[in-house]
């Protein structure tokens, strides 16, 4: 989609909020806007999402759009499922597909158990999950996130990061604003700063993406491969393997998920020691991205297919006082530099390590998870 000379003000006598915005958002593009409070980030996002019409200029070729506001109010007289049903129908989704996707999206965000709870009675975090879920209902297109992570729990934030990686790999585009400068750092976003209503490019996108194994490309491919593996009925087995998350996994398991032909072979390779969360999430993801038909890529951190020697997890904001990551089970090495922590783990232990790292505090963000050689030095 394109923005040509877009300007926005909320009244003829009011000042311009943003001006002269010309921007192309390509399929697979990740765009970040930065700026001070009140600089017009949210306004620009609303124009991009189609919530707000530009006062001047044109927005053309906008794909199917999901918008996540910063705060989603609980004051709607619906249950989560009913609300998502309405939004899905507005997107023109057919009823059978929609019911599956509602289950899958809620399940994946960890919101399945409150699908039938009225929104009125939900906490802020639960409401935010519903807000994210409604934006994820269309399987592709544009995702506009206005501090969407605010209020989400650790798992849901990590899931959202992974969903974004998947969408980008699928050719969807994502535009976001977040107060955390490290958000989605590993995904190589095109960065723009809004100053006095005008856009200034801070960093062009695709710098690291030019290398096939680096950054978001590898992430996307890796997650996509995991989806493919679980998209067959084997997803049921994978989900059932986890007693803790079994209940949450059930709704997605055994659904007719449109996996690709190669998925069966890959699914046979599911590591028997592979942990339950991988299965669960993969099952949810499979339903969430059903029909996209991924070929399993070479990057495959979950131990399906050609197993990598190790998995390299990069996180930011790991608190200094938290558990020493080098001592976690399955960790081969850990190193910290300039606020980032790199942890090299056994493939089978990667999910448990990832969860431990995320559990260390709200400040922790996953920058990347990718396959790597057993020893440092050969992966960059």
């Amino acid at each position: 989609m394109r923005l040509d000379g877009v300007a926005k003000r909320y009244g003829i006598r009011l000042p311009w909020v943003v001006r002269d915005v010309s921007l192309e958002i390509r399929p697979g593009g990740l765009v970040r806007f930065e700026g001070r409070n009140g600089s017009g980030k949210s306004t620009l996002l609303r124009v991009i999402a189609g919530v707000s019409a530009p006062s001047r200029g044109m927005v053309t070729d906008r794909p199917v759009t999901g918008y996540v506001p910063e705060r989603f109010p609980a004051a709607l007289p619906f249950s989560a499922r009913d609300y998502l049903g309405h939004i899905g129908r507005v997107h023109g989704m057919n009823p059978a597909e929609l019911a599956n996707r509602i289950e899958a999206c809620l399940d994946r965000l960890g919101g399945w158990e409150f699908a039938d709870v009225p929104l009125r009675t939900m906490s802020k975090g639960m409401c935010q999950k519903v807000a994210v879920a409604q934006a994820l209902l269309p399987p592709s297109g544009l995702l506009v996130l206005d501090e969407a992570w605010t209020g989400l729990d650790v798992e849901a934030r990590a899931t959202l990061d992974r969903v974004i990686a998947e969408r980008l790999a699928d050719g969807g585009s994502v535009v976001f604003v977040d107060h955390d400068p490290a958000r989605l750092d590993g995904m190589d976003a095109e960065r723009w700063r809004i100053e006095e209503g005008r856009l200034k490019q801070v960093q062009p996108g695709g710098a690291a993406a030019a290398q096939p194994a680096a950054g978001d490309q590898a992430d996307g491919a890796a997650v996509a491969a995991a989806d493919g593996a679980a998209a067959k009925p084997a997803a049921g087995d994978a989900a059932a393997a986890g007693p803790a998350d079994g209940a949450a996994g059930e709704p997605a398991a055994g659904k007719p998920a449109g996996g690709d032909a190669a998925a069966g072979d890959v699914a046979d390779g599911v590591d028997p020691t592979g942990d339950e969360q991988a299965g669960n999430e993969a099952a949810g993801e499979a339903a969430c991205t059903a029909g996209t038909g991924h070929e399993p890529g070479p990057a495959d951190p979950d131990g399906t297919g050609a197993e990598p020697a190790a998995v390299l997890i990069e996180v930011a904001g790991y608190p200094a006082g938290a558990a020493d990551p080098a001592r976690l089970a399955g960790v081969r090495s850990a190193s910290a530099a300039s606020g980032r922590l790199e942890v090299r783990t056994e493939p089978a232990a990667s999910d448990a390590v990832l969860r431990t790292l995320l559990g260390a505090g709200d400040s922790v963000h996953v920058l990347s998870v990718r396959p790597a050689p057993a020893e440092p030095g050969g992966d960059q």
Binding site: Y10, G11, S42, T43, R46, A49, G50, V51, S52, A53, S55, T65, G66, Y67, V68, P69, E70, R71, F72, P73, A75, L76, P77, F78, D82, H86, I87, R89, V90, H91, G92, A131, Q134, A135, V144
Partner: protein, 229 residues
């Protein structure tokens, strides 16, 4: 558009915001029966009165739906279905619920007032009765359209603050009902409904009401996408 309208109707019904206008309408049609004595007795004045009461009820219904949705929820729907489309859907939803009010009112009045009877013989005049009900339905439709236009023009996003919104809505409703030149008022003065005749040529109140509705909905939809946030 159907999905958007369905969402807005569900929002209006499940938020229970339709109840106060419904109570107003019921009180107006049934409770204020004595007030309409100057209109005369019989089916035609009864239907005129029911149509007239639609104006405040539907204007209030429209205000209810236009203020029902929190801004963030509105934004999510607008991203999915378009900003002006979702505004239009809200206006259609209020009009549809208002249509149900109006039909219930007509049924009530027909049961209550009974068919048209010949003076003197007291024989039921079926043809005249059907004609009168038709006239009453048309008057009700005109009142509904005028009220919807008032609701659209006197509430967010056109008039954004609550106080001025409620005051202008009330003023416009009074004007629509009482002013002789308003299409809603003129609709009640046709030969069919039997109340004093109007200077308006036949058919013109409907045309005027449709034009008013088109203006109201267009302005409301246009501003919905521009005055958000």
């Amino acid at each position: 558009m159907i999905a958007l309208t369905r969402y807005q109707v569900a929002l209006l019904l499940r938020s229970h915001r339709w109840i106060p206008p419904a109570v107003l309408y019921v009180l107006g049609v049934i409770g204020l029966g004595d007030v309409r004595q100057p209109l005369g007795a019989g089916l035609a004045p009864a239907l005129s009165w029911a149509a007239l009461m639609l104006v405040p009820a539907v204007a209030w219904l429209t205000r209810s739906i236009l203020t029902a949705e929190p801004a963030a929820a509105r934004a999510c729907v607008a991203a999915a279905g378009g900003a002006w489309q979702s505004q239009l859907a809200a206006l259609i939803a209020a009009a549809l619920v208002g249509l149900v009010f109006g039909l219930v009112g007509v049924v009530w009045e027909v049961i209550n007032a009974g068919p048209v009877r010949a003076v003197g013989t007291n024989a039921i005049q079926a043809g005249q009765t059907v004609h009168t009900i038709g006239g009453g339905l048309l008057a009700g439709l005109i009142c509904l359209l005028v009220a919807s236009a008032i609701g659209a023009l006197c509430n967010p996003p056109v008039v954004r603050r609550a106080g001025p919104g409620m005051l202008t809505t009330t003023a416009a409703v009074v004007l629509a009902v009482a002013w002789q030149e308003s299409p809603a008022n003129a609709a009640l003065r046709t030969p069919v409904t039997g109340v004093r005749a109007t200077p308006w040529p036949p058919g013109l109140p409907l045309v005027a009401a449709v034009a008013l509705l088109a203006i109201g909905w267009t302005v409301s939809g246009f501003l919905a996408a521009r005055r958000d946030g």
